[in-house]
């Protein structure tokens, strides 16, 4: 069985202990900062700050490097293509209709650092918040419990379905099947694999339905004297003073940015 789609890195840091709703709020304010302050220096400081925050809270460098690798292709594409879409200022090189300009390069750098800042804001949430707490945060913010559970189960079973695909493809390859030829032919030859994966997924979902039902999903619990009781939550989220302090700090930061934009940028 494959590992679930989970980015959480288990540590005992203050950021890990921080209420996930505050971290969600921080992530949104991070997004807002990346969009509202279009300056290479601000984006760079935000990115550096996120790296220091994560490293300081026990997230190993290899995890951050992994995120850099995930983003690498997108960043290269932005840096290569963006300068030609938004040329402005002094022309550095011109080849036919294409013009590489100073303004275009700055714009591309800005887009790239903004994209990275957003990715690391999401990383700061996912690397330090376990799935249970994350789902609980959404539920406490108004998402129905069954939706939260569905979200969690999706994260759990997506890799299992991917593994099923690999297993079926290997089973077919071991019996002499080779996908070759043009794209259309390959797609047609993959159809039996897809059918098998769909059937396997349906069977998996059947078994999961039984497992959830056997553990009391959807059925009201009762005390020994037949009184119905509600589902409870172990380690429910509770805002502590540190959480309020960080929440206040983030909110004040957002207000300061808004004030500065209103007062000095119109």
């Amino acid at each position: 069985m494959s590992v679930a789609l989970d980015f959480y890195v288990h540590r005992e840091s203050w950021l890990h202990r921080l209420d996930p709703r505050v971290k969600l709020w921080g992530m949104l304010v991070g997004f807002a900062t990346a969009f509202l302050l279009p300056s290479l220096i601000v984006q760079g400081v935000l990115l550096l700050g996120l790296h220091l925050l994560l490293l300081g809270n026990g997230i190993p460098w290899r995890v951050l490097r992994g995120l850099w690798r995930q983003m690498a292709l997108l960043i290269v594409l932005i840096l290569v293509l963006q300068p030609f879409f938004a040329p402005s200022g002094d022309v550095l090189v011109a080849v036919g209709p294409l013009r590489l300009t100073v303004g275009g390069l700055v714009q591309a750098g800005l887009f790239a650092t903004r994209t990275l800042a957003i990715a690391f804001c999401v990383g700061a949430l996912l690397f330090t918040t376990d799935q249970r707490a994350l789902v609980q945060a959404f539920v406490r913010l108004g998402l129905p419990y069954t939706w939260g559970l569905t979200f969690s189960l999706t994260l759990r079973f997506l890799p299992a379905i991917q593994q099923l695909f690999v297993t079926v493809r290997e089973a077919q390859a071991a019996r002499g099947w080779v996908a070759e030829g043009n794209l259309f032919r390959r797609f047609r030859e993959y159809l039996p694999v897809l059918v098998a994966v769909i059937i396997g997924t349906l069977r998996m979902s059947d078994r999961l339905t039984l497992a959830l039902a056997a553990r009391g999903m959807g059925a009201p619990a009762q005390t020994p004297d037949s009184v119905s009781v509600q589902r409870t939550v172990w380690r429910d989220l509770r805002m502590r003073s540190t959480d309020w302090l960080v929440f206040t700090g983030i909110t004040l930061g957002l207000l300061a940015i808004s004030f500065w934009l209103f007062a000095f940028k119109g």
Partner: protein, 483 residues
């Protein structure tokens, strides 16, 4: 406390003109509070269905028709579902029962569903994890645990809800010997602790945990009797397809003398997965034509990784693998499939065709072999599958699915067979079928390379290769390696 009287159950027809399947026929037993009952039966005899009916899941979630009487923990199960936590069920495939991100969350989930006050949940989670020896892995993901740990976790999650009746469906099913020993030890503490439990099994070690046992054959039950008596009557268990004791096994003889020509040559084989995990560290191996080689070793030793190099599913990070004298590196998996028939673990995940016939014919067609119909029909007949030819493989029982995967291999008639844990989860009838076919292939001069945890099977090989941490640690005759 747990009662069945004239209990009958039939699954609905799966369509395609196929009839409804009668799964339980006139099953009857009484189990008192604190008692334990073992239900022994071969694969497909109705054991899981019995558990699902008694847990209130069938026909509620499966469809089908039920009649008779079933009472558990004082509830009429057939009339209304038992309230959450009254009846606990450990599913045969523990991995599908686990769905939360961490081990401790898995145990807490059921307690939350019961409405347990949050301040009590921590202590109860702790107690359940301690009882089943899982405290050390409490923050890990359930899906990275070993099979034995997953089974114990599923057991801990069910037990933590303090069910008045505990149903355990094949608690030792699908586990290697180490996993079986771990779970057996956990079950012993449950049985000694006075839990009311019903467990289904085809393994005598598990049945021995209960003082009484009934035998299910094609959905019909014998009256419960003393477990010691049932286990003494080995003939009945063999006839029911439950046991296949080694003294009945066929001999694995090869006609004449073995050729010295190697069919598989492995030189300095190193392999690392893409995540950096190095699984093999310099394996050297030469397998002559017609030899029966058993590859043994603990979980994670690199056995399956080595085997997957023989048909090109994995390619060496360093070193070479030659099959029939040709370097496997320059050959496609499709080409290697002509020489090496490969059997994976978990047959239910390998079946993809619309019918059993098409499943068996798939490889024959993919390799452009002659006489497709003849090969398929002979393979179906060899594994008693002719009656299932037009049935979708996905709706068959585990044992029949395993037979389909063997038939798909048999139809290819390859000179080398590489089998990855072919014996896991097999009952007596399936063992008999597998061993008879292997003996037949061996007599035909086919080279057999089998990864196994079953030492009885390894002892029948010409040669045993023991792996540990990706290296060969012993290689020789069974007497020398197994001691």
């Amino acid at each position: 406390m747990l009662v069945a009287e004239h209990l009958n159950f039939a699954y609905p027809s799966p369509g395609l003109g196929l009839p409804a399947t009668e799964a339980l026929r006139d099953v009857a037993f009484h189990l008192e509070t604190g008692g334990a009952l073992a239900v022994m039966g071969a694969s497909g005899s109705g054991k899981s269905t019995l558990c699902h009916v008694l847990a209130g899941l069938a026909p509620r979630y499966t469809g089908g028709h039920v009649s008779g009487v079933a009472r558990a923990a004082g509830y009429d199960i057939l009339a209304t579902p038992p309230p959450t936590g009254a009846v606990g069920l450990l599913f045969q495939d523990a991995a599908t029962q686990l769905f939360t991100p961490t081990v401790e969350d898995e145990v807490a989930w059921g307690l939350e569903a019961l409405g347990t006050p949050p301040s009590h949940i921590g202590a109860q989670v702790e107690e359940a994890l301690a009882r089943f020896g899982l405290l050390g892995v409490r923050t890990r993901s359930p899906w990275v645990l070993s099979g034995g740990q997953q089974k114990r976790l599923a057991l801990a999650a069910v037990w933590a809800m303090r069910p008045r009746v505990l149903l355990l469906d094949e608690p030792l099913g699908g586990l290697d010997p180490q996993g079986r020993a771990e779970v057996l030890a956990a079950l012993e503490t449950l049985a000694q602790g006075g839990a009311t439990l019903l467990l289904t099994t085809f393994r005598p070690q598990a049945a021995a945990l209960a003082p009484t046992t009934l035998v299910l054959t094609d959905g019909a039950s014998t009256p419960p009797a003393s477990t010691a008596e049932v286990l003494r009557d080995e003939t009945q268990l063999v006839e029911a397809g439950i046991l296949y004791p080694p003294y009945l096994w066929p001999t694995f003889e090869v006609p004449g003398t073995l050729s010295a020509t190697p069919v598989i040559t492995v030189q300095d084989l190193h392999f690392a997965y893409t995540d950096g995990h190095a699984a093999l560290h310099g394996i050297d191996l030469e397998i002559p034509q017609g030899q029966f080689v058993a590859i043994i070793g603990p979980n994670g030793a690199g056995k399956s990784t080595l085997l997957r190099h023989f048909n090109g599913l994995l390619r060496p990070t360093r070193g070479t693998v030659h099959v029939q004298g040709k370097d496997a590196a320059g050959r496609t998996t499709g080409d290697l499939a002509r020489a090496v028939g490969f059997l994976f673990q978990r047959p239910e995940q390998q079946l993809f065709a619309a019918t059993v016939y098409e499943e068996v014919a798939f490889g024959v067609r993919a390799l452009h072999l002659t006489d497709v119909a003849g090969r398929v029909e002979r393979a179906l007949a060899r594994f008693e599958l002719t009656a299932f030819a037009q049935t979708p493989p996905s709706i068959l029982s585990y044992g029949v699915q395993r037979a389909v995967t063997l038939a798909a291999l048999a139809a290819l008639d390859t000179p080398i067979l590489a089998l990855d844990e072919p014996a896991v989860g097999l009952d007596g009838r399936e063992w008999a079928r597998l061993l008879a076919w292997l003996a037949e292939r061996r007599a035909a001069g086919v080279t057999l390379v089998i990864v196994t945890h079953e030492m009885e099977l390894a002892a029948r090989a010409d040669r045993v290769v023991a792996l540990a941490n990706g290296r060969v640690v012993a290689d020789g005759a069974p007497d020398e390696v197994l001691g």
